[in-house]
Amino acid sequence: MSRPPAYVQQAEETWTHLEKGLEEIKILIEGGSSRPWELKQYLDYTNKVYGLVKQHETQKILANHIQAYIVNLCTGVIMPILKDLRDQQFLSELSVRWYRFKLFCKIISLLYSHLDNGYFNPKTSKPGEEDNTIQQLQPFAYTQFRTRVFKDLHKTSQNLILSFIDKDRDGEAVDVTMLKNAVDLFIMMDPKDKTYYRDLEREYLSRTSTFYRNMATKALQTDTSPEYMIKCENAFAAENQRIKNYMSSSSQIPVRDTLIVELLQKHVKELLDMEHSGFVQLVEGNKLEDLARMYSLMRNLDNGIGIIPMSKDFQVYMMSVGNEMMKNQEIIQKNEGAPKEAKKPAKDEAKPEAEEGMVKDEPEPEDGAKKKKKKKKKKSAKAEGDDDAAEPAEPAPKETGEDGAEGGEGDAADAPKKKKKKIIKKTVKKVVNETQQNVEFVDSLLKLYSRFNKMYLECFQSNKFFNDAIKNAFTDFLNQTSVGKSCPELLAIFVDDFVKKKQAQQVDDFVKTTFDEVVALLNYLHEKDKFMENYKTLLAKRLLTQYDQSTFQEETERYFLTLLKNQHGHAFTADMDGMFSDHSSANTLQEAFDTYVVDERLNLNIDLQVQIITDSHWPRFMYRELQLKPVLQNALAAFEKFYKSRHNNRSLRWLHSNATLVMSLKFAKKTCEVTMTSEQGNLLSEFNEGTFSFVDIATRLGLDQAETKRLVISLMNPKNPILCVIGDSSEETTDLKETDKVAFNIAHDPIKKKFRIQAPSVLSAFEKKGIATAVDELRKFQIQCAICRIVKAAKGIEFTQLQTNVLEQLNLFHPTTKEIKLGVEDLIERDYIERDAKQNDRIILKS
């Protein structure tokens, strides 16, 4: 036996030291008492390693030793311990052992980095050397662990892990760290292909799937859908947490998919259609939280089986609610419509005399020629003139004037009057109710929209399918029925009512939300142009009758207009913009006029306020001739002269029907100054001459009966009854009848000396007709423009295509085929276009 060379001996000696160091480290890892190494110790150790690695001869000795040490650690230390353990103890020990082993490997690969680099480094290894020497220490150690420890135990441990996961899922407390390390072992034993882990995962998924399949079946037998959905949500969270706790994050998606299939996909129909708590019931009950949960769960499924069926149901539900509302409104409208219908026949008789009763000897100034400008006047009756008082239709009675209305009062005894008052109250109430009902109806539509829109935004996360559902449903029921036809009008009335309210004084969130909803509803209407004309007419009324009041809420009005502009473009609101600018330029002009009056030393004896309005922007007005008193005539003439001096080529036309005037009314107890519209004043002065039914008045003034009734009622406000019904006392009546005699209510004692009578806010028949005509004309015009544009651009186009294109271009309303055909016919007639001689369904430009 030959003595080994000296360097071998030395190496062996050094190894002994090194081995001791390794033992220390082991103890350290196991949590033994040793203090952590200091830097010096560490350097010392690596130096020793380096010393051996430096020489080729000792390198190999060191490598062999350390490898043997690792093998021994696996077979001699770890295996024997694990062998006798079972169940939790086993798994727990395995996971601890693995954890320590991993740590140990990490540390030695640091300590032996010289060896790794110098000896195991594949780059420096010579060809022909054995493969396993090439492996660096850590991989070598893992391989050893796998072949010597893991291979035999892996089935056992896999089953154990799974059974612990099952326990965890069942709610039992488990050692999460243990599981995490154990699973880590499965990953690290084959970090590249992860075959062990994938085995484990497969089994895990299959168990997950079974578990939730059972859970779903069981839960659905008893749960309502919200309860079930909460369970689903919890399941998703729990599984997610499980992955985070001990599984590889790569398992997250497969597990999720498993849950989706088992919990949702297999039960989606059952869930959505569940009796008493299905999707529709949740919508019906406004269960926002449950709906949001349902949406975010269903979002996981294909749109085709989750979201789309939901949005379809949503649409159907909205449609049924909407149609129901429309039906109710229809019934209300029918009931209201009936009495009006009955009165129609009588109407026409009074008509022939229209206007004539008004025109007296004095012709209206500036009534001829072309009217580029209209004019509307406001008068404050501060004049001191001494004219006769009871001039009919004269809008500016004087304070000193006798108001003959008292004449009519003499006959009216006190007793019957009281009875009558009740009736009046009822009557007035009814008229108010009509507007009120309309407003309430629109309000309920807005609420409906807001409710669904909220669901769309908050529960359905602005998913486009639900947006489409809202659009389809609202478009459908808003445009269908006969009530639908009046929707544009009702919407305009609603806006009118709304902007007059106190709440609308400032543009706050409430106002903004309401307007947004109005604009949204408007978008669903087919006949936006109808809304526009109604809105325009009502706006005109607001601008004119509230001119000198602070009640006109310009900021709010303008805000709404801006919304319309943003939504439908500049052309949509051009007229309204014009109206506003007329309105705002009034003050400047008024000041100029006042200065003019002073400069010219004119003595008008009257405060004349004039509002100039540009004809083309404003809706049609009723031109009515009025016999004017000299004082007023002078004032108007002065203004005309003044205006001509500024704008020579413009012509003026006075719009008496839209004037405001102040009348002094002599009640028994006091004389009051009352501001009202010229129409009201006109009507009121008739009562200087006695008592009349509204039919009489209509005949006397040459007005439409329904109009007159409306005006009479506007003067019968229960809070401030200027007129009252006298005569026979049939208390049953709720409506102002044709036979009811009306008189000036001289016994009335107003609270204030100066007050204003509300103008009737309902649109008059004339205004309604004006709106209808304007809509009609605009439509014809737009259709024909569109046809010309399209034909011109296409050079020639088949009718069917033309129709499609016209419908595409016009978004304010939906023209019917008939309307388009008539447009074509009209244009052919006027030689803009013609039919192709060879193909008569083809339209070409007229050459």
Binding site: F799, K818, E825, D826, I828, E829, R830, R835, K838, D841
Partner: protein, 263 residues
């Protein structure tokens, strides 16, 4: 199926269709159809692709017969007004009366068409002379004989179409009128379309019955009425094919609805 072996009924129908679509004469239609072995669609294409191959035959009416212009002027003088500028309605009435021509005869209208007359029942000198030259009329006798035969001038579909369209404008009597009154349209239709459409009686009945709703007839409706009469099957089966034939004017739509409501 070859053209020569086709049935007479089919031939006529096919010729009619080709002629009405392309506006060519029946003779030309026959030639084109021969070329395409009776296929109507390709015949139409063929006609449009190579119009030069199918010139219209010279109108059958032989070269304008020689007329004596002096005689024409004499004829004109006899019936014209005192200024001898125009033949006015009463002059025309005399002319028709003395030549024993029925005023309702379509020939009178064709005469006016040939005259390029502007106002109903009136002829300027130039108009009258032009028409006489075109039709070979120079005496009262010739007028009486030839006017009822003038129908030969409107035998080709193209000529008839021109005549038909002209008649609408001819009857627009009032200043700046663009539409015919229901009544006028009814009379005019009765004269010009007699025997030319299976819908003849129905259209007249429709116009008469609906005179309160259909107060006027636009030029488009009038022109399309001809197409309607020529193209639409008596059972209306090819009337309203969505996307293909829904281009008819409103009046014709109403007419069809009216027929359907009667059935």
């Amino acid at each position: 199926m070859s053209w020569s072996s086709a049935g007479e009924k089919y031939k006529n129908n096919a010729k009619q269709q080709v002629a009405s679509v392309t506006g060519c004469s029946m003779e030309v239609a026959e030639r084109v159809l021969q070329h395409t072995q009776g296929d109507i669609t390709s015949a139409i294409n063929e006609y449009y692709d190579h119009p030069e191959r199918y010139p219209e035959p010279r109108p059958k009416t032989p070269p304008k017969p020689k007329v004596n212009e002096g005689e024409i002027l004499n004829l004109f003088k006899r019936y014209s007004n005192s200024d001898q500028t125009n033949i006015e309605p009463d002059g025309l009435e005399r002319l028709l009366d003395e030549s024993k021509v029925d005023p309702e005869n379509i020939g009178v209208l064709i005469f006016a068409w040939k005259a390029k007359a502007e106002h109903p029942a009136e002829f300027s000198k130039d108009e009258f002379v032009l028409a006489c030259k075109e039709t070979g009329i120079d005496t009262l006798n010739a007028f009486g004989q030839k006017v009822p035969t003038l129908i030969s001038f409107i035998q080709t579909p193209a000529a008839f179409r021109d005549f038909y369209r002209w008649s609408f404008k001819y009857y627009l009597t009032e200043e700046r009128a663009r539409k015919l009154s229901n009544e006028t349209a009814c009379i005019l239709f009765g004269i010009v379309m007699k025997g030319r459409t299976p819908f003849y009686d129905q259209i007249i009945q429709f116009l008469t019955e609906k005179k309160d709703e259909v107060k006027t007839v636009s030029i488009d409706a009038w022109n399309m009425l001809l197409d309607f009469g020529e193209q639409i099957q008596p059972d209306l089966s090819n009337y309203d094919i969505p996307g293909k034939t829904d281009h008819w004017p409103v009046m014709i739509d109403d007419f069809v609805d009216w027929i359907k409501s009667k059935q």
